[in-house]
Symmetry: C2
Subunit: 444 residues, 2 copies
């Protein structure tokens, strides 16, 4: 019998774990410690909050502390785990407001401490006007700053999903926007041919894109004035650092909890760590990649929710299994949509997988419909067993969601032959008579 | 060696067959006979042409006669097949303009004569103002009639996809619209619980829906004035008959070509009929249902294109196989979308399949996004082997396209367990963090 479950972390994975554990086990004592002031918030909604689509930060909160209290889940804010002693099943917590520390004991522990934005020690990185965007407080601070200072020269560092969603926010505000990416192209988790379609569209929309360029410093006075890179200087009165995240796992040091890629906590398919009675889930943990079979670090909100649910169920006695990730991702930037799932060509090469890839250009709907826009679709197929192992989409309204069809196909390990000519839905506002997915499958 | 291929029919299946045969075999003589004046048109686009979205009927033509001529495909318009003699490999053709008949001989024959709108012999059905909508000429006639007479009391008979798409056209024109359906609910190929969500929405939008009601006659003078049913009379100055289609297969009588359900030509997976060297495809033919394993008659444009391509390839020596249909369908009516694939509950009962069904209500996107609308999703699962065998969706923007994910799952014979918690794409404008599909799968 589990008497006491402690959950570290109060966002997607942590609160999913606590909720699921409560549903499975009505009796266990469940305590959630989080070092933040907000819980259960939709981090992926932050760009829409800053852009004004979401009118108030409250709308991003899925469930409040009071609601969790009604389920008999005790949530302690501003409480950061600082060390872990599996031998005594104890955890040391620091109150981040008072600085006081105390210990608590668990029968079962779920670690869901998430990740934090990477902030490299660039010279001047502490200047006013330089932000990261990870939690609700970051969002509120950025929104206040924009309203107070109305910056016009925006530099976004990092061309992943968050950086791109913030490009949309600033272009819609009429700002001058420069996007800097250290990799050779934006959207580093897609292949260059696909990512460059979005880059060309953004340049048409007035965004300056600088790839293969590394930030070095932020010269200026108290406030940021420019961004210095290895290739020059860019005037800036607002800078967003969106170069990725790193898992909050330092407090496990010395505990024996094994870490995996990128220092995320290594978990098995039941979300168990290397130490008995300790589970981990979400952005602080690894995930099993359903195609490569490798343990990977791909922190995303959906995965956090699923892993959290499984960790919670198993921590109170279950044996649910997580089916793994495909690295499925999607984003909209102004009118253009991008999505990807499975392995890119680059990942195949890195993994030594023999593959075939094809790219087609088609339309999102019948050519005579006003909603019809162009779209590019890339499929990657395993040369040996002819299963679909990767897909990437760039295009206009309705394009990117097609990735889910391909994610289902990859989940089912379907071969190209099984999928060719399958019976997809057709009506002029939704697709051409030959859906782009069928057109692409017919290339193999 | 195939020297001469004759294709009967010049729309989706026929022109797909001719085109594919030409690509595979550059030398064969290919002649297409069609009894229509137009070829290669997008019949599914006709409601959008009448509504004005498609400005000219030319936009609905995928390829012209001249383009086919460049591929050395000879297309003869107004030429209707009236009899077939497999023993002498000859076909009798009537010129529908002059009334003259002649014979032609084939090495291989592809029958793609399509289907025509059902027009029961209701008293007064020939009156002015009563239309069917099947081909380009029907569309042009309706459009001219609407412009000339500006009818205001519209009665649409038949609540399938075409009837519903025409409801949209007339509601947008500000007309009073009554929809009459003989079955107990609109969308007879969906279950009543799902179809009635659309019915309620349409009633809110001002449409009068009368189900379980049978048309008997069209009283009035030269022009239609009302619709008389078994339950009363409805004033009408425009009537659309959209109660379904029947395959154009009468000319095969006595030829030995075996017919299947609804008098459609029975074909195997290679599109072969019961007679050597004769293939059939599209709305005049049956299709193999990939879940029930039965030969069914579900005439749809996508299937016609696929079957036509396969028939064309095989007629010149190939052995391509058609993977069967799921009866996947989709339609948009004003702001609401509907889709379905696989078996409905009613079909499962008729087939004696033990099933479980669940319906969930969710949202198309994150609740805080303006594009987020409600949607209902029903899944039907085989009780024995736990594979997904049916899905139905009703909801707002972005809802219905999710049917393709479920069509892929059914094509792959995936079990609920394999699909639960799969890695679908998430970003606020595209879905809630738990996509409705995952929510529904988690009900089993």
């Amino acid at each position: 019998m589990v008497k006491k479950l402690i959950v570290l972390g109060g966002v997607a994975a942590g609160m999913s774990a606590a909720s699921k554990a409560r549903r499975v086990n009505p009796d266990a004592e469940i305590t959630v410690y989080t070092n933040e002031e907000h819980i259960s918030y939709a981090g992926c909604g932050l760009p829409y909050f800053i852009g004004g689509t979401v009118k108030s930060e409250d709308k991003l909160i899925a469930r409040t502390i009071e609601e969790f209290k009604e389920s008999n889940i005790d949530v302690k804010l501003n409480s950061e785990a600082i060390s872990l002693a599996p031998a005594s099943k104890s955890i040391e917590i620091k109150d981040v407001v008072t600085g006081k520390t105390f210990k608590d004991n668990y029968d079962k522990l779920v670690i869901a401490t998430g990740a934090r934005a990477l902030v490299p020690p660039f010279e001047g990185v502490e200047k006013m006007g330089i932000f990261k965007l990870r939690n609700v407080n970051d969002g509120v601070k950025i929104k206040q700053y924009l309203e107070e200072y109305r910056p016009s020269n925006i530099v976004i560092i990092g061309g992943g999903y968050i950086g791109l969603e913030m490009v949309e926010v600033f272009i819609e505000k009429g700002c001058r926007v420069t996007l800097i990416e250290r990799a050779p192209h934006i959207l580093p988790n897609m292949d260059d041919d696909m990512a460059n379609i979005l880059a060309a569209y953004l340049e048409e929309r007035g965004v300056t894109i600088r790839v293969g360029e590394s930030v070095e410093a932020f010269p200026g006075g108290e406030s940021v004035e420019k961004v210095k890179t290895d290739k020059g200087e860019i005037p800036a009165d607002f800078v967003l650092l969106s170069i990725g995240v790193t898992p909050n796992t330092e407090f496990t040091g010395g505990s024996g909890v094994e870490l995996g890629p990128r220092n995320a906590i290594l978990v098995d398919m039941e979300m168990k760590t290397s130490i008995e009675d300790i589970y981990a889930a979400g952005d602080c943990a690894t995930a099993w990649h359903a195609i490569s079979g490798k343990d990977v670090y791909i922190p995303l909100g959906t995965t956090a929710n699923k892993q959290g649910k499984i960790a919670g169920e198993n921590a109170v006695g279950g044996h649910a299994k997580f089916n793994g990730v495909l690295g499925t991702g999607i984003a909209r930037v102004l009118e253009m949509e991008v999505s990807r799932s499975g392995l890119s060509e680059r990942e195949c090469r890195e993994l030594g997988i023999e593959y075939e890839a094809r790219v087609i250009k088609s339309r999102t709907a019948a050519h005579y419909c006003p909603v019809s826009g162009s779209m590019h679709l890339k499929l990657v197929v395993d040369k040996e067993n002819k299963t679909l192992i990767g897909a990437q989409i760039v295009g206009f309204q309705g394009a990117a969601s097609r990735i889910d069809m391909l994610a289902v196909a990859m989940t089912s390990k379907a071969t190209v032959e099984e999928l060719t000519d399958m019976d997809l839905a057709y009506s002029p506002p939704f697709s051409p008579v030959w859906d782009p997915v069928l057109v692409a499958l017919n290339q193999f």
